[in-house]
Symmetry: D2
Subunit: 333 residues, 4 copies
């Protein structure tokens, strides 16, 4: 995958931009949790924070509430060297989306979402700067940004600008059923965006959701990848949870990623850590499998920590973790 | 344009499916009109009725209210040999869209629309039959079907099925500002459908609306046509009102249509008559300019009559009108 | 019932203000009707037109669409000497409500309503003139005005102003299920307005609807009347269709109305004609039973004619009809 | 005020039933707060918890989300001996309302509310048990329950049941502008409920809001009290912040409450503590001024503590606080 060179920013995220309220007292149902810690959250926000920590030059296209939660998000981005020129403050009384986490055990984690009237879905086409996208090497889109108008139209316009200026379109499916009306509506818009994407990342379940109206699709990774190579895709990465991840390239290559042993605190954030480190590797010009290993190691680090965003590692940490895992023999491939 | 052969139906319409209430007492403001006559209406309905009258084998994909107005539409289609297998009856209490016409003078016509909670916008992706589209040579989409969910998603799925089975996608822009929330939203969805269309028909104003977020577009027909030939388009037809219509083909050809003198009663229905006869010509395998002349003659006939749908002429009538116009010398080119 | 004297207007209507589209070809299902005639409609509009024809000084509090239908309504009111100072023109793009009538036979009549986004339900408290109500002897409210905000709040404020200035509150229940979300919501607001009403008119079915959450009510007219005399009511009039109407007064009197033979064309408009003539009688200071007879005769006239509003008779016509019926012996009591 | 005797419950709350997220790190803007503690919240919930702590037999009429937040609320009520028979669990996907507190200084406190799609506003008339209200001496309504349907209609029905069975209607205005569409809508429904209330408690600003459409009202406490004594009111209590509270009775008495010095942590909860202790006093049969003092002391205790609900004192604590204040001379009257 060839990213355009010499642009102001390597990677810009677009989509969900919210607050995680993470349970302080864990290993119990949320009913018994009394205190929570506030972090910036949302899949594309986490990926962008991760990419910035790893050393990429980053920015974000999104909308925040005009309140203390919105201010906190903007401030946290700025502390993390994420450009906020295209982060708009809402003026309609929208709120910041929330995700309360429940960690009953490392295997039994869930999220309680507040997604009514959220600011991140209020970004409109007119608020997307063509110039900003022109000066960026790659935009990472999150599927939840397609859940409602006007954010949905803003995404399609941003993808159009990206194509026009040779900016790579990266698509993290990030499917949250609660934010959608029907699986047909969901599949329609996910497919329209996937047609315009150079990199598509998702779990097998997420790709199945996108194929729910296509009788000839049967859950086969080969068919899924082949379908998207008829459009804009160059890499299709399909995640099978504990069974590992598989990447297809338009040139016909196929890669399997390694997984790393770690002490699991919770499973949240694994996908975001993986995506940020995998894209980091691609932008460095690494081979796909080396980028996949970097992604896997980064995910292993984040799931041993309390948050998603603040837990994102630096590049040296990821490399050290890989080296250490090699020494200990705690890598599976 | 090569249409697939040997299919059950030549042309299927999809989109607005409503009732026209045409003023009986005309040449006055609607305030002074006391009686109205009821006709089936809506651009794609009119085009399909026209195509059926001309001799094509036709059908419709749409949704009607569960009331007397809906029954009337289904009955009228059946009388006109339009297949209604994929015309669904709504069960949510939706109403039939209405258009009251006002004819102050032949030059000063307007429409009063009822578009709240209308049945035609309630058709959903699950109600679209893939088999039906597979057995059809061409589907004519009307842009108003993109104005709201779930009809919007149903259109994208139908277009997807059409591509999968080699069915031609014909797109009549039919832009009605009152049914849309913003010009950005409108342009986004019109563009996504136009990308998948083999034939795009619209007025210059309608194409301008679709280009409102593209700084490099400047109202030039050449640029508009070139843009769409990068996607699926084979013919782009741009209407300039009294100045005539201009057609571009992917092969680089360019055609100008003739216009015919007629006694104008009202301007409604001109575009629908044109589209049905133009498409009729293309399906006959005629050259583009001959099809355009047939369209122009058909439009001239309809604007001299009281309704849009019921006024649609037979093929012989159109040919006679052309012959007569040649004799009288009432053709402009 | 003592009405305040020496006010600018005897009676002001408030509520539904719409267009009736009456079938010209009747005695058939609406599917087979092709032409319709346009009239002003809506229960309180009809009552007000009727009262004006009878000779009362009248006005209306309501909202009309900013289009040809709205203009027509205002013009028709003015022609009929109904004051329109407090008839506001909507500026939000609302439409005029419609009622298409179907007359299959005199016994089998129905209505197809268009009630989405209608102007009459958009009147807001700030648009109610306290001065206007202060200068009026009685306000006739229609229950459909309670179906949605802000019209609902406007009605409660108008009733408050009426109480403050000694203006009589007349309440025509006019229950249209299609305009309401649930029978509990309906009963709640109908009851709150009935508590403030001096005259309540409705069918037995309508009173039953209002009592649907009260386990001790059992469809008895005596109980219904007694309940309202605990609040503001002075007269409660309960209509039992062909069985006649029954009026209770706070003083303990009880009256039965006469019914008149007539040639029935359709049943629409009977209730509105009754209400306008009954109230006319009360305002003349007549005994309740004489006013009821006048109402019954007026209803008999209207159901023999094509429209509701335009069919409303003058006082002389009603009196002649009564006299004629006496002569012919076509009165039942 | 004479409360009915020998009923299963002294006091039942109805209305807002939510979660407070109270900042742990205080005396700073919320942007800098990282951890929050979860409490049950909402004015009528706090009042009911307070009343239960003081020793009254209590219950609640309300609706909770079908999630961990809803479960927590039900569990907390049960631990606090509040009957939850009429606390319904929502099945529509509603969420629990949230209030994040910001304590910049004791004088500068604010709240960030989440009120979109909240469970407490989804309680419907059919979910109100007439039997439950019949077996209760007094119901305390909170004005926010009037902000939307169907909760609004449920409140009016509950008040109707209360009147029917001699249950006292207590009304805590609790006006939160963010939950309402317009001040006219607000005033309309607050007034309709106040007409049916035996006790009305609010700040001067809240009463002014209720009077915003009445030209003859001018912010005078005397006029406000007089207006409500024309309806059902027996006591009207008007709070003027630091200037103290003033109570009017229907018998013509007038009382001023004492205020107590305390170490203020935050101002939240003062009103709820006051209301619970004041009503506790009335139910004990105390004179109005003694109940007011008990209210004032209770408020002084709660504003020196971190939460609203969990901070509610027992009756002994309140009495001790009063005695101590008398000894120290820290009472103002």
């Amino acid at each position: 995958m060839e990213f355009p060179k010499n642009r102001s920013r390597d990677l810009v995220g677009m989509g969900r931009l919210t607050i995680d309220m993470n349970a302080n007292e864990i290993n119990r149902p949320m009913e018994e949790t009394r205190t929570f810690t506030k972090y910036v959250g949302g899949s594309p926000a986490n990926i962008t924070i991760g990419a910035s920590r790893l050393g990429l030059s980053t920015g974000f296209i999104g909308k925040i509430a005009n309140d203390q939660m919105g201010n906190f998000i903007r401030g946290y981005f700025e502390e993390n060297n994420i450009n906020t020129e295209n982060v708009i403050t809402d003026d309609t009384g929208a709120v910041t989306g929330l995700a309360f986490t429940e960690i009953i055990s490392p295997e039994d984690c869930s999220i309680l979402l507040y997604r009514d009237n959220v600011a991140d879905l209020k970004i409109s086409p007119l608020e997307i700067s063509e110039e900003y996208i022109k000066n960026t090497s790659a935009v990472m889109f999150s599927g939840t940004a397609l859940a409602a108008s006007p954010s949905r139209e803003a995404v399609f316009l941003a993808a159009e600008y990206a194509h026009k200026h040779g900016t790579k379109v990266l698509f993290d499916i990030d499917f949250r059923p609660a934010t959608w009306k029907s699986k047909e509506e969901t599949a329609t818009y996910y497919n329209l965006l996937a047609e315009k994407s150079h990199l598509i990342i998702g779990t097998r379940d997420e790709f199945n959701m996108m194929e729910n109206m296509e009788s000839e699709m049967d859950g086969s990774d080969d068919k899924t990848a082949a379908k998207w190579f008829n459009h804009s895709a160059e890499i299709v990465l399909i995640k099978h949870g504990a069974k590992g991840s598989f990447a297809y390239t338009k040139d016909g290559d196929y890669f399997t990623g390694k997984t790393f042993e770690t002490e699991v605190l919770k499973t949240f954030g694994a996908g975001d850590a993986y995506a940020s480190s995998f894209v980091y590797g691609l932008i460095q010009g690494w081979e796909v499998d080396r980028a996949m290993d970097f992604g896997g190691a980064s995910a292993a680090i984040v799931i041993s920590r309390h948050s998603c965003s603040e837990a994102m590692p630096k590049a040296e940490e990821v490399q050290e973790f890989i080296d250490e895992s090699v020494r200990k023999g705690t890598i599976k491939s």
